[in-house]
Symmetry: D3
Subunit: 319 residues, 6 copies
Amino acid sequence: MKEVFVSDLKKDKEVIDFFMIKSVSVKTGSTGKPYLDVVLGDRTGEINGKKWDVGASDHLLKEKDIVKIIATVNEFNSQLQLKIQRIRKALPETIPDDVMDMGDFVKAAPEDPDEMYNYIMDTCLSFEDDDYRALCRKALEDNKEKLMYYPAASKNHHAELGGLLYHTKRMLMNGERVCEVYKNLSRDLLLAGVIMHDMQKLFEIDADTDGMSSGYSFEGQLLGHIVMGVKYVDELSLKLNIGTEKRIMMEHMILSHHYEPEYGSPKKPLFPEAEVLHYLDILDARMYDMEEALKNTEPGGFSDRVWTLDNRRIYKSEG
Amino acid sequence: MKEVFVSDLKKDKEVIDFFMIKSVSVKTGSTGKPYLDVVLGDRTGEINGKKWDVGASDHLLKEKDIVKIIATVNEFNSQLQLKIQRIRKALPETIPDDVMDMGDFVKAAPEDPDEMYNYIMDTCLSFEDDDYRALCRKALEDNKEKLMYYPAASKNHHAELGGLLYHTKRMLMNGERVCEVYKNLSRDLLLAGVIMHDMQKLFEIDADTDGMSSGYSFEGQLLGHIVMGVKYVDELSLKLNIGTEKRIMMEHMILSHHYEPEYGSPKKPLFPEAEVLHYLDILDARMYDMEEALKNTEPGGFSDRVWTLDNRRIYKSEG
Amino acid sequence: MKEVFVSDLKKDKEVIDFFMIKSVSVKTGSTGKPYLDVVLGDRTGEINGKKWDVGASDHLLKEKDIVKIIATVNEFNSQLQLKIQRIRKALPETIPDDVMDMGDFVKAAPEDPDEMYNYIMDTCLSFEDDDYRALCRKALEDNKEKLMYYPAASKNHHAELGGLLYHTKRMLMNGERVCEVYKNLSRDLLLAGVIMHDMQKLFEIDADTDGMSSGYSFEGQLLGHIVMGVKYVDELSLKLNIGTEKRIMMEHMILSHHYEPEYGSPKKPLFPEAEVLHYLDILDARMYDMEEALKNTEPGGFSDRVWTLDNRRIYKSEG
Amino acid sequence: MKEVFVSDLKKDKEVIDFFMIKSVSVKTGSTGKPYLDVVLGDRTGEINGKKWDVGASDHLLKEKDIVKIIATVNEFNSQLQLKIQRIRKALPETIPDDVMDMGDFVKAAPEDPDEMYNYIMDTCLSFEDDDYRALCRKALEDNKEKLMYYPAASKNHHAELGGLLYHTKRMLMNGERVCEVYKNLSRDLLLAGVIMHDMQKLFEIDADTDGMSSGYSFEGQLLGHIVMGVKYVDELSLKLNIGTEKRIMMEHMILSHHYEPEYGSPKKPLFPEAEVLHYLDILDARMYDMEEALKNTEPGGFSDRVWTLDNRRIYKSEG
Amino acid sequence: MKEVFVSDLKKDKEVIDFFMIKSVSVKTGSTGKPYLDVVLGDRTGEINGKKWDVGASDHLLKEKDIVKIIATVNEFNSQLQLKIQRIRKALPETIPDDVMDMGDFVKAAPEDPDEMYNYIMDTCLSFEDDDYRALCRKALEDNKEKLMYYPAASKNHHAELGGLLYHTKRMLMNGERVCEVYKNLSRDLLLAGVIMHDMQKLFEIDADTDGMSSGYSFEGQLLGHIVMGVKYVDELSLKLNIGTEKRIMMEHMILSHHYEPEYGSPKKPLFPEAEVLHYLDILDARMYDMEEALKNTEPGGFSDRVWTLDNRRIYKSEG
Amino acid sequence: MKEVFVSDLKKDKEVIDFFMIKSVSVKTGSTGKPYLDVVLGDRTGEINGKKWDVGASDHLLKEKDIVKIIATVNEFNSQLQLKIQRIRKALPETIPDDVMDMGDFVKAAPEDPDEMYNYIMDTCLSFEDDDYRALCRKALEDNKEKLMYYPAASKNHHAELGGLLYHTKRMLMNGERVCEVYKNLSRDLLLAGVIMHDMQKLFEIDADTDGMSSGYSFEGQLLGHIVMGVKYVDELSLKLNIGTEKRIMMEHMILSHHYEPEYGSPKKPLFPEAEVLHYLDILDARMYDMEEALKNTEPGGFSDRVWTLDNRRIYKSEG
């Protein structure tokens, strides 16, 4: 069982434990000698490592391998770095102690994917409006496989295993309350918008079953998940025989949910549910980023600058 | 009892009913003849009126008088206008039918001020943190008289009798839920921030007990309610002996709640509760403006352009 | 036959001729007397008119009627205005002299719609690429009826009978040359993009067969012609069995042709043909607006400020 | 004859060929030992190289020397790098195989300078307007020597031998067509504007006869080629006795051709020819940058981010 | 002698005095009757007037006439307006009481033009640098006639008789001190820049000898006084044989003195004297506008919104 | 006595002299060997140094130590670097030659703190207004200790020993003159604003008695010196019994002195003295930065890009 995590590492400490390879290559030092340059990670973060003697087996290491290492923690340019003495692949099939819980190695939403999926599906099934229920149900069913592991982003907020489900669920929870406070809102329309708003991230982003994204798809780059989402609702509405007003309103919610043109929405929200959708979305993203920023911050101190939060340094209360 | 409201008026209709004078003057027409130019209103809106024969008593009319009129509705430059035959002040002391319910004449929040105030005070009293409870309690008690009628703005969102209480209460309601969803948030800090964030609008804006603002105060123009709010927390904290961290954090929440410098916040939120405060604030303002915009819009149609909503025209669903 | 046009009117001149009603209503003057307030127009412009004696038949006048008037040209607030003595509807069925050429009354592109349509269709048929040829051909054929009269905008550039064809044709002409200069460009891709780029204006804008727009459609307001165009290519490509790369590239050209997010394009052009499409589009719009601005400008003088040209006043050379 | 170009280099390949030195210095490694750090280039690009044993002759190498090297291609920080075993200056006077075609070493426009110059001069001579013909002719003749090799920029688009001629010629080609489509344009004015618009780049930029710029001149930094161009037309017009209107219009074309104040144009174009000039200019720059970006991109893939194209990654069609 | 000024007028007052006609026309009222519509002014402001009976002589009135009127002050749309009973031209040649001091009718700088001119010339003559002294002296002498009355702007700050001299003088006064505080500054360069920076306003703006501008010249519109100023220094430097560095630095000071591209400066200041010049310029403009705004403001009150001061309302201290 | 300064160092020179340690650490080279990495500085600048053999005493070196070194100047990545042979702490108590003048090691304002303080206090005492005199006197007296060494910024302009006094004094000097030129200004109000405007930098910034800042305080980050300054005036005014108008005006001057919201001022200046304060402030900051930029620039050349001057490169006249 893994015991030492990246977030536990401290200068001059010895480490003997398992990590996942994030990237690896054999490079040539300034003296012409080859060395192994590797980024190791687990669910708590990443760290660079160097091994100055390159052995034959080192050339076989590749991304996403789980490896066991013996190393010392150094500091280089104010950043921690591993000086690796030994490194080998984990052999779970032959060595019992090498059997690992994958959840230790990849960043994942803190709730069970099945439960999150069920929460969302239950919300969908509770809609009184037949059309929005049918639309969301179909989308949830057709995409269930990918939904179970997809992140909500390639980087930044909710870029983690199950991140899209987690993001959607938390937005639904807040959305329920907003409908209680603002009684003129259509609960079905708003919550259907929440369920559908990022669905095409499943096709905009390329991601593996470990929730890690390797970048954007061709269509993702040329059109983006917002426009792809509009097309998707169009296609489903045709199949499900959904009328014009509902179809266009749902497409508009997707189209406008980033609010500002420079963030990808050519139209601003033109009815209250679309307006709310945007704020549920951004609030959840900001809470995610701030939670992340404060994870490694001491009480009474400030985090590092966070790019997605306009380079703010976030304060952690002493309390 | 008032029966016909501004929002009921239609071209060519006859009107005999009571209205409040919003502004009034005797002007000279292009032929040199004097006429009475008056803006009449009630809680549903305002309308311009002209009376072509000016009598002696017409010169005595003044702003905020309740008057009874006999008039015809005309259209001028695509806008409705009253051609007034007769106009006289209401005499509630002598004419029983002239006794009016003031709520018919001024725009007011749809809930009872006492109930809203109590909801807010109850929330305050539920705080576990002694300092934030004491701070908010003192602010609520000291300002109770003004709070019972103050609008939340001079124009725009919540510019109505009791608007500040209404705005605060709805933000608290949403805030409660957000704390359930994001469990790392401090409920006391967030909700105290909600209660305090606009408190100095009581002194930035000049308003009458009917909830109508006549503009900004001297200090309001030179400093604004955000900076006045920071000073107010400073002053109360001194009296209540609140420690530095809590005091500065509360001041920061007020300082940053408009989020962008160009909207008056020189600092962006630097901890999660401050971030949330901003979104609760803007969401409530937007919902208010959209509700207003849709009040006079037909289902399946678009509202007029709304200046506070970036000139958007808001759509009202057919459903 | 119409002889006097709006652009010919001068102060103090008498006018006896035919005009089209742009808007009309009976209003009440400051003395309480009704008068007829009418905007009259022809292909050269519009002018406001007043008739101080309102007769019974005046109440029957309505938008788009052709009327014959007797009037004098006055000046009011530095603008010309007609003081109308008589006004009556044209009766082409009973009065031979009342038979009018509609082209005198509405603004129209200077070329014959059939010839423009054929030029565009011929260009389409010349494509070597079967898919782009099929796509454009279907779009041109399916929408032929509307194309023959649709303007390219609700207001501003090419807001005229046949304006969309004219805009498309001129862009094709320039596009041909650009392909000769930059030989790496795909002529088929670029010119297909030109043909498709504004096709959904036919459904974003509501327009009559006289080329005049009465505003935007529901879908036009909530999605806009750019996103509608992407959906349209998606739908046609499915029917015509066009492969993914070509389909997405064509959709991207439409999506990116306004270039800047704040003008409606969430993606910037990502290949050279998409880049060129934008410049062909904007160049043609600017040339249209400048030609219009200079029509009524004296050599050696400046036009009025033109809103669509960033409020510039355009100079007309003496030469 | 040079056989291997920078764009051909691949990891682990051996190289024996000629390159041009772009920059060179002897540095001290982290162990205190000196090494040769050199950037080598040819018309296809540049690559960094290290030589770990520094010999006496290595100290004599300098910028723009042609050298012959023996080296291996390594990878360092994901970029190719040469590990140089031997390096020596080419000796074309004594070694026949060392005689090189300079066109292999510097980036150059793909057309012959003489032909481009003649095309431009022929266009100039075809002007019907005596003044514009005289103005352009004088400018072309007086600056012929520099025009034959000057780049159109210090970096970015057309930063290459003959780049200014190439840029001018392609703009003229497109300009001819634009005059056919928009018949109200003055061909002489537009094309004279094209010829003159960047002429003072010859004095804003410092460049060698190999078309490579070493930066900006004193006047270039304090005034810039746009204002210098205005002054130049002023000066020539005086000599050639050109009248006020033509002179000012030509100066305005130069002044406004960057269109936006933040790109150096204090005035926006105020007549159609000035407007067109801007679009011809930017279109040619963009086509140049996109062609460059796609040169090293695989079909079906995206280029690296291109700074001059707003950091876009450009797509190369599979077709 | 004029006794009543526009700034003295109060509602319902009778007025018998002289004013200058700012604009005049005979218009037709809504009843079809002609009336005289006139804007009257003096050095303290302007006011609209109506005369409901138009006599024959009223048709002869024209801009800049001095007239004597008998009128009553009314209020219309919250603005004062004159109801004119009688109006006639002043006849200074025949009626002694009609002889007027022109300074009562046009806005003028508060100092004597000769004294201001001499102050500036004396400063110029005090320069130690022969070139800058010669340059400024020539510019001052050649333009003396226009300088004596030209405003510094067409509207806004220093749009008054002698305004350019006044603006220049006050900048020189502050500039002297700045050179004492920042001793590394070249006094000659800075003060020469002050003298030259707006000199071409004499040719950018069309103005009469009463200091009132009728708009912009052709060259003013196409090039603007900044670029015209650069050309002017170029031309003078040639005549006076001034060397390159000094010439270009002076041109750069003019070019950069508006600081931001969107205000007309394509280059930002690149040496300290150019930087200072900008701040002297803007400070003087702001002080002028604020003084103007406060002239008609009561102590303890706010001025109207001032467009040139970003729509601020300026506060006048009670003290 | 120190003889060689950082600004004197040239490639390949030998250095034996004293420097102050700005930062220091023992790092591990790419070959695994430790080396000493140190940044050394004096009042003229900073330079990086490496010592390849690390001795025991090297581990004891720390920030702000004065050390004596023997080293050679190398060049690395186009930057000078010291190769240190020997390094030891200065021992002023035992070695007479090691006694140093601290002014050689830290950047300091060029005037004596006492004299600057006195100048400011004298200005304060000259105020006719009792309130402003009392306010400034109290602030100057209460903060005298910190004022004697505090910088005016953490980085950038006036980040030096005594920088805040120097900045304040130079602004006062210019302010005196401005009051002479614009006679409507209140000298007391303006100069009191100058004295108070940055006073809370003493608490926003953490700084040592050597004038060097180690960053921002907690309150500095959450509120900033502008809002802290407003609170400070509030607090002092209460103690000194200063009336509302004066208090609010002084608070407004502090609040608005950065002028633009994005630079921290939620209100723009609303009276002339506040407007002037801003320009005195920015002018002094710019002069400081430009002087700094030109210190190391050759006549006739351009400085490096200066970040605080919008990345401009500043020109130094040949003269």
